[in-house]
Amino acid sequence: MPFKPVILWTDALVFVLVAAALIFAWYVRRHEHLLAPWRRVARSASGMASLTVLALFIVIGLADTLHYRLALPDKGGERIYAVEELSVLDAVVGPLRTQKEKTYSAPLATHLYAKETMELPGGGQARDYPRLKFGGAHLGDPVADYASDILKRTVFGITGGAVLWLVVAALLSALIAGRAGNMGAAWRVIWRGETGVQWRAVLITFGLMLLITGPVIALCVKYHVLGTDKVGQDVFYQALKSIRTGLVIGTLTTLVMLPFALLLGIMAGYFRGWVDDVIQYAYTTLSSIPGVLLIAAAVLMMQVYIETHPEMFETVTARADLRLLFLCVILGITSWTGLCRLLRGEALKLREMEYIQAAHAFGVSHWRVITRHILPNVMHIVLIAIVMDFSGLVLAEAVLSYVGVGVDPSTISFGTMINNARLEMAREPMVWWSLAAAFCFMLMLVLSANLFADAVRDAFDPRIRSRVLNPKQLEQRLAAASRRESAA
């Protein structure tokens, strides 16, 4: 084989998570009462629009999770693999990773950012901005051809995006129209937002995304779309790689936290008595330590552990990966208390319900009462907590990396990007593109996660009364209510 698949620790857990999500989805599909709240999510325009953006991030993150090691050129005998772990994403964006410049260059630049002394062809020296090795290297005359080349590529990218959008829109119409249906009619239904799933919102978001990604893809082949950083690495590539780190921290932390919170919270509320006392004591103690300090102390200890046990880690990537996993575990252990408290309260309420007393009367075992009757009835709280926590964790990663207790410095993440770029604020003229890239990517990720979380909460939380309605919706509701009243 020309390559050897590598499964790092976080990769394995991400695969577990994906499998769990798929099984959950399959299970929900077969149960109408579980499907109903998801239908409400699908009807929410903001929810579906944010899910479209999130889907792009998830695809990039998953592509970056499939790791492998390339085989080195055969020298006879057994095959040797490179120490560097690559991912499918690295293979797809190939040139972005390998085409390194000398140092800073601005977005879409053809020349370096700093002047250098160069040898002139006819002898003698001059101080000027040297051409980039890769950015715009195909241009014969960078001054004359630059503008037209950029324009040509942008137009090409937008056209490609538009074509793809039309194809997708047509496919979707055909799918909704069904076998014998009318595609035109289906399209009108979509466009008026009358489908059960808000396809209009999905299509508009998808169109906007193509409008941006189309030109970016067309340009990034020959230019550094977001410039290069101090060691000449493409900032766009770094931003793409950061996505996986953010997603891993946002999701795996919840995976770590969930068993603690679920088991302990339900046990405390269900059994009460001394079990409740012990669990309450545990989470009161843990939550009385300020979060950042506990995380800092734990990460500090982990650093010492990693430094004094270098033999445990084969490659730099494996070490960085394990550190990422440890960070998730630490964040998970420090953050289960909130959900645990919620679940305890809910279990306290549920255990007094008639159907649970009936189960007791029938002699159903505690374990079965918990799994059959309590667990399904607290799942909405768990789900809301998962989606609500995600964005906070992505933001926390950046702050922790800044404090110096985040991911390994060799892991590309939003935090390390900001941290490295911050030092360049003082430069004159300013190197702004690294910060801008981290800002835009983080904002997109966190904003869509927040909007999606709101949609999920609105759909699942039975207590929600104060939903954000725009005046038009409110008017419709009021009209419907008055119609009902007059009919009665």
């Binding site: 004591y281 545990a282 009161t284 103690t285 843990l286 009385s288 330590i289 300020p290 950042v292 300090l293 506990l294 800092a296 102390a297 734990a298 500090l300 200890m301 650093q303 010492v304 552990y305 430094e307 004094t308 964005s391 933001l395 950046a398 702050v399 800044y402 404090v403 110096g404 207790v405 939003f414 900001i418 911050r422 604020m425 910060l435 800002f439 983080m442 904002l443 966190v446 904003l447 927040n450 909007l451 709101d454 009364r465 104060s466 954000v468 309605l469 725009n470 005046p471 409110l474």
Partner: protein
């Protein structure tokens, strides 16, 4: 009420013991003092003598919990656990790994922290509650809708960008105030203006939204309808009746952080170069000064527990039905 407070203080003791055991386990059991010495000295300078010296200098050369070489009470007192953990209970923080007196550092550095955190807290509370009440006033209109959209957008921006952007705009571009630094006395105002402003602005998104939900919970209750039926103006209904009844959830979130204001904010202080406890902690983390981090963890927990007790007391002030006995 005094009896209640005393009882609560006694309840705090087992929690503080728990915190103490957690930190002790974290700092001395996960890694032995030898490991810490190695990490601290760096790879090149590790010799058994250097490690032994490092441990003696910082008092880490004793047994962890039980000292079999001593007799009497010294079996338990002449140990790392007693020296480094039990002494924290009387706020004897000992010396940092760099040899400075931690207690003295905390006493001098908490005032700059408070000078930033307190104005941020007070001005923030006033601003967020006002915004939230305004949004509740305009509920179900476009003002409310776009207000919520703004809040969600603002809470999606990392706090780091508020600081970086604020420093760039106000400090560098407009040259209004110094970008970072600190000075005592009246001069401190110039240095505090920007961090306080940024602290307030960066909290608008999540806090306004949170208070808005609290107010909307209240606004559909019967007493609000009664107040309107009496002919009170909507503003009076909001600012007197709704605000007063929403005080309990507001206090639950707000009062508990008051004692923690002494600890300052890690990020703000590091960015603005303010010599408070936040930057003290960051420096300790970055130079791997375990003694300081341990002291801060303990101090933070004590302050948090004080905050919880204060929260309970504050309930009696706003809600006459609550009696602490």
């Amino acid at each position: 009420m005094i009896g209640y407070i005393i009882r609560r203080l006694f309840y705090a003791i087992p929690i503080l013991i728990g915190v103490n055991i957690i930190t002790f386990a974290l700092f001395f059991v996960v890694n032995t003092p030898d490991d810490m010495a190695r990490a601290h000295l760096g790879v090149k300078r590790i010799t058994p003598e250097a490690i032994a010296l490092w441990k003696v200098e910082r008092g880490y050369d004793k047994p962890l919990i039980i000292n079999n070489n001593k007799t009497g009470a010294a079996v338990l007192t002449d140990t790392i656990f007693f020296d480094k953990s039990v002494r924290l209970f009387v706020f004897d923080f000992g010396r940092s790994d760099q040899g400075r007196d931690i207690g003295y550092d905390i006493k001098t550095r908490m005032w700059p922290s408070l000078a930033i955190a307190l104005p941020v807290f007070l001005m923030g509370l006033a601003a967020y509650i006002t915004f939230a009440l305004l949004m509740a006033f305009f509920r179900a209109t476009y003002v409310d809708f776009w207000g919520v959209v703004m809040c969600v957008a603002m809470m999606s921006i990392s706090g780091l960008f508020y600081i970086i952007g604020g420093q760039y705009l106000v400090g560098k571009l407009w040259n209004l105030v110094p970008v970072s630094g600190y000075d005592g006395g009246i001069d401190a105002f110039r240095f505090l203006l920007l961090p306080v402003l940024i602290g307030v602005v960066s909290g608008i998104g999540s806090n306004t939204r949170w208070y808005r939900t609290i107010f909307l919970e209240e606004i559909y209750r019967d007493y609000v309808r009664t107040a309107r039926a009496k002919g009170l103006s909507e503003l009076r209904v909001l600012f007197r009746h709704v605000l007063q009844n929403a005080m309990i959830p507001i206090l639950t979130g707000a009062v508990v952080v008051i004692p923690l204001l002494f600890m300052g904010s890690l990020i703000t202080e590091a960015f603005f170069g303010i010599p408070g406890l936040g930057s003290y902690t960051i420096d300790a983390i970055q130079s791997q000064d375990f003694a300081v981090v341990r002291a801060m963890v303990f101090l933070g927990s004590v302050l948090y527990i004080i905050g919880l007790i204060m929260t309970d007391i504050s309930y009696t002030l706003v809600d006459p039905r609550v009696r602490l006995e």
